[in-house]
Symmetry: C2
Subunit: 236 residues, 2 copies
């Protein structure tokens, strides 16, 4: 474990990709900060910073998130990958542990931090040229999110406390970039056993009101039992 003399230690940053959805579920958005100084002055970048002595990598990611947004309830946070190619930062060796976070749709406003001259949301599907290798990191994050959406409930947290199944489906279609069949989607999503009807409903125009659901954080019952319960609820 002895370190060779004369080789400066690499710098380590934790960068956090903060994702949310735009109002009306029309867009998947990522929070970027504009760099004030060289290199890449004026370019947009993923917010990040150094790890403080006493904190874990995940805590560093959470701190970043708190510094960049007024987010209170974080829906999801996961380590994405560690990027460490030499030359990815012209100033010297920088190793970046990337995390990605999902925050609910409610009107989150970015607030400019100490470092960040400016911070704002961008569409994940219409990104500016980014600093460093951050474009590649975002590609990687989107691929991971898509893969996980297929077989987990990660996506649920992007919506608020209560949501309709149509909203959830719009979210899936938005991120996966393909149309889903309404009936099959509802069946599959309810079969996961993590959604429970709140009993309330919401009207969103001149048509039948939509039932509201909430995400059951506790690991629900088995899919089969969940479906049965859902059918029973329906019969009432």
């Amino acid at each position: 474990m002895a370190r060779k003399l004369g080789t400066p230690p690499p710098a380590v940053t934790v960068d956090t990709i903060i994702l949310t959805v735009g109002a009306g579920l029309t867009d998947l958005r990522v929070l970027l900060v504009r760099r004030g100084r060289a290199p890449f002055a004026g370019r947009w970048a993923i917010p990040g910073g150094f790890v403080e002595p006493g904190e874990s990598l995940e805590q560093a990611a959470r701190r970043e998130l708190a510094e960049e947004t007024a987010v209170t309830d974080l829906a999801y946070l996961e380590q994405l990958y560690t990027f460490g190619d030499p030359g990815r930062d012209p100033r010297g060796r920088v190793i970046t542990v990337a995390y990605y976070a999902l925050v609910p749709a409610a009107g989150i406003e970015p607030h400019a931090g100490d470092d960040a001259a400016d911070a704002r949301w961008f569409s994940m599907f219409d990104l500016p040229r980014l600093a460093f290798d951050h474009g590649r990191i975002l590609d990687y994050a989107l691929a991971r999110l898509r893969a996980k959406m297929e077989y987990t409930t990660v996506g649920f947290g992007l919506l608020g406390e209560e949501f309709t199944l149509s909203e959830l489906q719009s979210l899936y279609e938005l991120i996966l970039r393909r149309r889903l069949d309404k009936r099959n989607f509802r069946r599959r999503i309810l079969a996961m056993g993590r959604l429970e009807p709140t009993g309330r409903s919401r009207m969103n125009g001149v048509h039948r009101p939509a039932g509201l659901y909430r995400f059951a954080r506790e690991k629900g019952s088995t899919p089969k039992a969940a479906r049965k319960r859902h059918e029973a609820t329906r019969r009432k």
Copy 2:
């Protein structure tokens, strides 16, 4: 990106979990090195070291591997996870980027490196107490390998150039720790379209000789086409 004064930068190591299978496909093995000095002197640990200035993280993992074993053909290498909890190394902040590597079954002997007083293979299912949080890292690696075995061809590289389907099945059963149905296994594995018969066969006792296969590195044809081709081959 400015760094606060007075906070020493964390050390970064790349640790590589080197996995292979024991002769006779009876065991999944991991290469560990015995620590010569404190902390955890005498305990076994995952081989690792610092990143050299000019190399990528993956290159560092490959270098480790070359230093610890006489491996020539590496079957698989993937970044696993980055561990950085404060306190995981009593000497100070150490962030470890873990990789895992699969090397073919052929008689790989570890050779003691500069740092490592001693290096040897251990069964993944009968591990000694490890230094640092390395036990947890191995758990994580095994979980990842198992998950990937279910839907990819990662495992194939653990066998040599040529192998029988029974050997491949033994490998899967060994790592997944459950019995598999022979017929279903062969069907599924051939349907992946990445295995081609070499035309040769091997005798391994007083019974019918087993056909040999090789791993087709090039992305083969579609599963359906592969099965058709297999059936056609069979008919000859």
